[in-house]
Amino acid sequence: MDSQSDRKQFLAKGMAYACSYDPVLRLEFDHAIVCPEGVRMTLGSQSRRKDDEMAPLRFFHVLDALSVTGLDQREHDCPVGPVRFAEESLLFRRDAPVAHVQGRLTLHTELASGRTANIDVKYQGLLRFRSLAIQALEQDGAVEASAFLIPEFETMDTRFRWLTARRCLAFGTCSISGASGNTGVRWLSTHLDVYTAG
């Protein structure tokens, strides 16, 4: 191996669609903490829109397929089903157009076979705004951002080994809407497509 010469060609890369997740979470200003980097807010599944029966938190396949083709070119069960538990922390930076995201959720999958499996999903990443992230909390009207998350799926169920053994990437968008200010309620609506990378 010649360590002194730089590579001249790109390495092969691939991504394969796994599932989607479009949560709507309530931003509670009562739970906001001002810290040196900006404002940190904690969101939980109990704080989602309780009056909206049509929008429970769940993972889905955009085309309602039951399986997806993995990077190994094999068909695998798509991890779809309701989210039983979710908590998320957002740090809106005061010096950059990004908010750092950390979260965890438990997905209760519904497989075509009728069997079920629980999958723990830890994730971290960032939301990128057009202006300083902290301004998104102060502006009136909807504020749009791009969302880039790294979910890690964890389960001992071997049917999802194709997911737990790979690094995953989630691309998407999010918007913050609703009343601004310290007394108003704001909603964080996120749309995410999850891909396995390899």
Binding site: R128, T173, D193
Partner: protein, 183 residues
């Protein structure tokens, strides 16, 4: 029929830079812990290069300086899980050719193939030679941190690295990555 979105979202990867990491022989084998087999690896300072494959001076647009330089310090506190997946956890510092310091932290996934964990624990994994190293596919998801205004843009992206790891005599000796920003 569920009431959900029925279209895929746009997504793209933007090439940022490439990196070749030489790993030293000063390996610390912590042993088998509840998560798997723990091992600490250290990079060889100075012989690790960050470069741009297509020799661009900017990454994507003017004002976004291309990253070229060396790693001055780096360690991987990795674990090999029982499901034959190695999970590196890396912290490293890049010194660019124009003097900026950029810190990176990331985790990754490296599939060892069936029986990989057992082979490592049993010490039966002495595969690969200098002329013919064993190659593994490695995916990492680095984030970057710097106070240098020339590279501040890098800290505003979540990145992904598509790479290869090379094993000689059962030791990971070299890693090479192409780093992309998720956009």
């Amino acid at each position: 029929m569920s009431d959900h979105r029925r279209y895929f979202l746009d997504h793209a990867l933007l090439y940022v830079f490439s990196i070749d990491i030489e790993l030293g022989l000063d390996i610390e084998e912590i042993g088998v812990v509840p998560e798997g087999a723990r091992v600490n690896l250290h990079c060889v300072p100075g012989s690790t290069r960050a470069y741009n494959i297509i020799r661009e001076r900017t990454a994507a647009a003017p004002g976004y300086s291309a990253v070229t330089g060396t790693i001055v310090w780096g360690e991987d506190v990795g674990v090999v899980r029982e499901d034959d997946v190695a999970v590196p956890a890396v912290r490293a510092c890049i010194r660019t050719d124009d003097g900026a310091l950029i810190e990176t932290t990331y985790r990754g996934n490296l599939s060892l193939g069936m029986g990989g964990f057992r082979a490592i624990v049993a010490g039966a994994d002495a595969v690969g030679t200098p002329d013919s190293p064993v190659e593994f596919h490695l995916i990492s998801t680095p984030a970057y941190c710097t106070a240098d205004p020339r590279y501040q843009w890098l800290a505003e992206y979540q990145c992904v690295g598509f790479g290869r790891s090379f094993e000689i005599d059962g030791l990971f000796r070299r890693v090479t990555y192409d780093i992309y920003a998720m956009t």
